[in-house]
Amino acid sequence: MIRVQQEDFDIGAEIARLRAGRTDIGAIVSFTGSVRDQSGEVTDMTLEHYPGMTEAELQRIEAEAQARWPLQASLIVHRFGALMPGDNIVLVVTASEHRDAAFDAAKFLMDYLKTGAPFWKRETGPGGARWVEASAHDEASAARWTKTEARC
């Protein structure tokens, strides 16, 4: 399941909803990304996105993870709008019988989301506002999943 929203999310409640009434899940991995103040360099942040394409991309990425790993459930929640240091940005949750699938799928979802989901961060600090630059490391992290060897 995917959601794109302005409001905050509750990690514990999201995980509880995902596993409610189930006794077949052995492993749940959650990833939460949040705004870092970067030693005072960031006072606030605005996340712009491309409504419609964002949802389509997140659904595509989630379907890809479901096809690659035996997931029992998965969730992506991504926020947009005005955020402060410490605020949540993104939540990814994966559930599987075994931990490797849950870990790998969560990592994959984050790597792909970082390079594919149409979000743009604009940070404000003491020196003014600036659009965050994309990271070459993120491109490399996403590329590692396209190798035949599946991981790393």
Binding site: M53, I89, G116, P118, W120, W131, A134
Partner: protein, 83 residues
Amino acid sequence: MRLLYFAWVKEKVGVAAEEIDPPAGVATIAELIDWLKARGPEFENAFARSEVIRAAIDKRHVRHDASIAAAREIAFFPPVTGG
């Protein structure tokens, strides 16, 4: 067709969206970028480093050699920075 701009591409061109009707010779994203750059200094500036500009046709990522023939909505934006 409808054009959308996001993030600093939007700031540089000065609009978020517009309707355009490029001539028949403009067949790909790359050719569309060249055509846009000729429209004025704000486009020239926004697309100056065209290799960093990402494009989507009807809400799917495409490369610059993609055909725009069937496109209803084309978006231009910087590399994404979500997550």
